[in-house]
Symmetry: C3
Subunit: 175 residues, 3 copies
C-alpha cells in the first residue's frame, strides 16, 4: 500500500484548541519527510507573534517551510512526492487571503478538490471551525464563515480522516 | 413498530456545516411522504438568497413545503400523519421570529415540548448551534443564544436521536 | 482505590448547553460531600440573575458554597479532602477575573496545573468553550479566548475525563 492511498487528513478546531500541535504530531510520527505550508501573512504584530510562536514549536524537528498565501494548489503540486507529508496551516487563513484579493472562491476550492485525489504526499490540513458562534453582525465575517464552511465540507468529503480538536483532544469525525 | 415510535431527530450544526443537507437525506431515505416546514422570513436579500439556495437543493425530490415563521406547533399539528416525515428548518430562525414579535418564549417552547411525544409523523428538526463562540457584546444576541440553548436542551431531551454536524459529517450525540 | 486516583473531570460546553447541570449531577451521584466553588462576580444585573438561577438549581441538595473570583488554588487547597467532590463553576469566569485584575495568567495556570495531580478531593471543572466562532474584532476578546483555550488544554491534560456538552448531552472527549 502506498502512502497516498491513505488520503488527506483534515484537522478542525477552535482557537487555541491544540489543533496545530495535533496535526504536527501526526506528521512527526509519520516517518515521512516533513513539509510545512504556511498560508498566514504577517500583516500586523499580533499575526507576526502567532507565526513566530508556531515556528518556534516546529524548530529543529526537520520541517521544510513554504510560505504561500494564495496559490495553495500550485505549491502543493510543486512539492508533492510519495515520501513526504505536507502540513497546510491553515485553510481559514487561505480563505481570508483569497477574499482580500477578491478571488473566485468557488474556482479556488474546486482546484483544490481536483488536486486532492491524485496527490502522492500525505496531506494534513489544519483549519479553524468558525461557524458555531452567533451570526456575526459584520457582512464580511458572515461571508467568510460561509466560505470556510463550504471549504470544510469539500475537503472533508475528499479526506480519509477528519478530526475535531477541543482542549487538545481529538474527536474523530471520519475515518 | 410504528414510525412514530422512533421519536424526533434533532440535527445541530454550525453555519454551512451541511446540517440541512444531512437532515434532508435522513428524510429522503425514510420512504415517507416528505413535508418541509420553513421557518425563515425573507426580510433581506441575503436571507432571500439562503432560502432560494435551500429550495433549489430540494427541487424535484417530492417535498411539500409549508412556510410558517411563528406558529410551529400549529402547522405541525395540521400536517402530522403517520406516513410522513416533517423536516423543520430551522429552530433558530423560529426563535428569532418569536423574539422579534415579543412572544412568551417559555410558553412557545413548552407547547412544542408537549406536542413532541404524541406526534405521529417522523419529525426532523434542524438548528444552529450558536453557543460556542465568545459571549456577544450585544444583549439581544446573548438573549438569543440563551433561548436557543434552552430550546435545544428541551428538544434533545424529547428526541430519539441527536446529531452535531461539522464539515458535512454527523457526530451522534444521542440514539 | 482512593477517590483521588480518579483524577479531575473537565466539563466543557457552550452557553446554555446544560454543562453546569451535567457537572452537578456528576457530583450529586458521587456519594461524596459536595463543595461548590463559584468564581463569578455579580458585577451587573444579568450576571446577578445567572448566579441566582444557578444557586436556585443547587438549593436544598447539600452543597457548601465558596465564592472566590481570583485565588482558585488557595480555596481548593483549603477545602481539599478525600471525602469531598469540589465543583468549580467556571474556569472562564476565573480567566475573566484574572484578566480584569491584570494578573500573570501563565503563573496562575501553572499553579493550578501543579495543584491538580496531588488533590485529594474529586475535582470537577466547568468551563465555556468559546473558540468555535468567528475571530472577535475586540482585541481583549481575542486575548480572552486564547487564555481560555490554553487553560482548557492544561486542565484537560491533567484530567481523567473530559466532556463536551451540547444540548444537554455529554460527548466524552477523554476517559
Amino acid at each position: 500500500m502506498t502512502v497516498s492511498k491513505l488520503g488527506p487528513i483534515l484537522v478542525l478546531g477552535g482557537a487555541r484548541s491544540g489543533k496545530s500541535r495535533f496535526a504536527e504530531r501526526l506528521a512527526e510520527t509519520s516517518g515521512l519527510k516533513m513539509h510545512y505550508v504556511a498560508t498566514g501573512r504577517a500583516f500586523d504584530d499580533e499575526m507576526r507573534d502567532r507565526i513566530v510562536h508556531h515556528k518556534a514549536a516546529r524548530q529543529g524537528k526537520g520541517w521544510t517551510t513554504h510560505e504561500e498565501p494564495l496559490d495553495l494548489v500550485g505549491v502543493l503540486a510543486r512539492i508533492d512526492a510519495r515520501d513526504r507529508v505536507i502540513l497546510v496551516d491553515c485553510l481559514t487563513l487561505w480563505v481570508t487571503n483569497l477574499m482580500m484579493e477578491g478571488r473566485d472562491m468557488a474556482a479556488a476550492f474546486a482546484a483544490l478538490a481536483d488536486f486532492l485525489p491524485g496527490a502522492q504526499a500525505r496531506l494534513v490540513f489544519v483549519s479553524n471551525e468558525v461557524g458555531l458562534g452567533i451570526v456575526p453582525e459584520n457582512r464580511m465575517a458572515r461571508a467568510f464563515r460561509d466560505h470556510a464552511g463550504r471549504l470544510h465540507q469539500i475537503v472533508a468529503e475528499k479526506s480519509a480522516e477528519v478530526y475535531l480538536v477541543a482542549a487538545g483532544l481529538p474527536l474523530k469525525m471520519k475515518g
